[in-house]
Subunit: 418 residues, 2 copies
């Protein structure tokens, strides 16, 4: 089955917003074995939307349309769809009740803005009427049309829960192509390319993809589309070969994240973590606590931006700060030991550095970061130099700190140069 | 002048890569006062590219095409452009010499793959022959076509240095359209629509746009393209009207962020902030420290995930935790007062809540969040209910907490229900 994606919004064609809806829909459709032939993005105007819709109807088996379903005046997709498909706009009782209930639960007044969302093209079917988010589907000349909200969270929810199952039910069930993703951290792209330059069978049936996803590098392995002479077993062989060359940099596979992998290992080994952050400003704690259930292994932390806070909250010695500075192996080690002690944790992790754009010196340029890790009465620390802007340096610092914990718990070396 | 963007690549329509080239080109063109009518994305196949090109030629004054100019076998844009425009493919001597030089500098052998890049449609003009990155332009039936590489850095370079100046030189120099963005937080979209439903002059010369950008809502004001009867003064009037209705929810304009605005106010009023985070896990500190120079007003904070940490680090009383629970107005107030005291700050800000997906109870369901703010010996706190997933609840909590500081420093009411 093949089809296309239409994304609607002035914010998209004016470049104010990156079109993550098209990206998400394309990725999910492709992963499900469905083919996307085209993505068309148009603004919030009747003529452009109508033309895009007509063209898609004549060339596709399915069309995913996102945007313009909301309650504000520039949300005109319902009307345009009705007009382009020559169907009247009807008040959908089910949708109306659904919206009324939604408003009631939140203590909101049912208004004309709300009611507007319940007027849909004739014979449109609500998607997922039991949930808060709504969209609708239509079948026109055997083409399946799915109208989804532009709000990314809602669009993603409906895409996964309703649109894909519906398409797979009605389309010919495609055989899913074996595909896997290896995620690496800490190895730059040219070095990675060099290490994998003479992989056996590269030009054969297995397609290797390399995707820098800052600060990670992802390697994808997949089998060529129609070739059935290769199997998942061949992917296993290729993955083994890659792991033998760059295995220690592979921190996760598939949908796993660094913070998720670190959390799993802490849980397995029944260890409680605490974090002392300076230049990362809370980013490490934020990442760790994005994982549901992280309170089982994350006790908390301190964000110590000033020297005084490092002394008062963590017991870092003034002498260390005076002699070596706050950005030093010595300070990182004392911060890690301090936060472990203060929070009564098994492990103390620390980061101190210069995120930039200001604050660098010839000896300690922007991007200089020290990481510390303490357990029992031992504390390790090490120095890195990152090369990005402020947010990139923060992200690299947080990732490297988490990677220390991952490597430490795995028994791998984690100090720079080891 | 109006036109469109065509981005080419299997990696785009399969969702492996986010289409940042379309986003960048659209943003730059719009900022230069040129209108983008459509973005079309197709895969690396002859028929799709050819069709997209033909359609663009018949409906645009300019077309930006990115991708497929490289040396590998899937780079077929040159051939397809020649065929679609009925022009022979010719070896361009200038391009050939350019590529030869490029290879020589890098110690690479001139190969057929390299030579391929020098075959271009007849009368194509190299873009920027003095630089390493190449693309070409063509004029067909008065439509200006620009073919750019898909590598983002190269595409951006050529877009800024060559394409935009060329378009502005040949097109009617557009007067930049007045445009502004108002950012709101804390007002749901239907209520916003309701409050602005009868704005004067809405159907006239000023275009209003509404964009939910979770958890914010953005309103854009712009003047209709060719209408010169309206001026920036009319935008001022409209902005005043909007502010009179929803002004206290407008936290920023243009490129400003909540954390940036809060930072500016703290700096102006010479106040130092400290933060005690529970369910946000470090997100508030992370946002605050994304702003360069934030150490001038942000002292740091604590992430207290466990009750014991709230007691040990912030001096929250066990009795409060036993009587009211960690998620309560009382705990929030003590956390705010505690972090202010411990970090010797002017202001203490706190968040405690249930981000989910687990941990909710009938009395305190997932999404229940208390915020506290302390100054001197006073501490305020208030309760909210958010309706998202874990990350959304964290983000809403962080935004609401920062919005308290913004409103407090502005002398606005900030407690729920005030």
């Amino acid at each position: 089955m093949y089809g296309e994606i239409i994304t609607i919004g002035d914010e998209l064609i004016s470049g104010r917003v990156v079109d993550l809806n098209a990206w998400y829909a394309a990725g999910r459709l492709t992963a499900a074995g469905l083919k996307v032939n085209r993505v068309t993005t148009v603004g919030d105007d009747q003529e452009s939307i109508s033309k895009a819709l007509q063209k898609a109807l004549s060339e596709s088996q399915f069309v995913i349309i996102t945007g313009g379903l909301g309650s504000t005046d520039d949300d005109i997709t319902n009307e345009i769809a009705a007009s382009a498909l020559h169907r009247p706009l009807c008040l959908d009782e089910e949708m109306y009740e659904h919206i009324k209930e939604y408003a009631a639960v939140r203590g909101l007044k049912m208004s004309r803005a709300f009611e507007k969302m319940a007027w849909m093209p004739e014979d449109a079917k609500i998607l997922c009427p039991t949930e808060e988010v709504c969209g609708f589907s239509l079948v026109e000349n055997k083409v399946r049309l799915y109208f989804l909200p532009g709000v990314p969270e809602q669009m993603r929810f409906l895409m996964d829960k309703v649109v894909l199952p519906d398409l797979l039910l009605h389309g010919k069930a495609p055989s899913r192509l074996p595909h896997r993703v290896l995620k690496l951290y800490g190895l730059d792209e040219p070095s990675l390319a060099e290490k994998l330059s003479d992989l056996p069978g590269k030009s054969g049936d297995i397609i290797l993809g390399f995707y820098p996803r800052f600060p990670e590098n992802h390697i994808t392995l997949s089998l060529r589309g129609d070739d059935r002479s290769s199997t998942a077993g061949d992917l296993d062989g290729m993955e083994r070969e890659i792991r033998s060359r760059v295995g220690s940099f592979i921190f996760a596979t598939g949908d796993q994240t660094m913070e998720g992998v670190v959390g799993e290992r802490l849980l397995q080994q029944k260890l409680m973590l605490s974090v002392a952050e300076s230049c990362t400003g809370g980013l490490i704690g934020n990442l760790l606590t994005n994982v549901p259930g992280s309170s089982a292994y994350f006790l908390g932390g301190v964000v110590v931006y000033s020297n005084q806070a490092k002394i008062d909250l963590l017991g870092v010695s003034r002498r260390t700060l005076d002699t070596h500075g706050a950005v030093s192996d010595e300070a990182a080690a004392e911060m890690a030991a301090g936060v472990r002690r203060v929070l009564k944790a098994d492990l103390g992790l620390s980061v101190t550095g210069i995120a930039g754009p200001d604050g660098g010196t010839p000896e300690k340029p922007v991007g200089t970061v020290h990481i510390g890790l303490a357990r029992g009465d031992k504390a390790f620390s090490g120095k890195y130099r990152f090369w990005g802007n402020r947010e990139q340096n923060k992200l690299n610092s947080a990732m490297m700190a988490l990677d220390w914990v991952r490597r430490y718990l795995h028994g791998d070396s984690f100090l720079p140069g080891l």
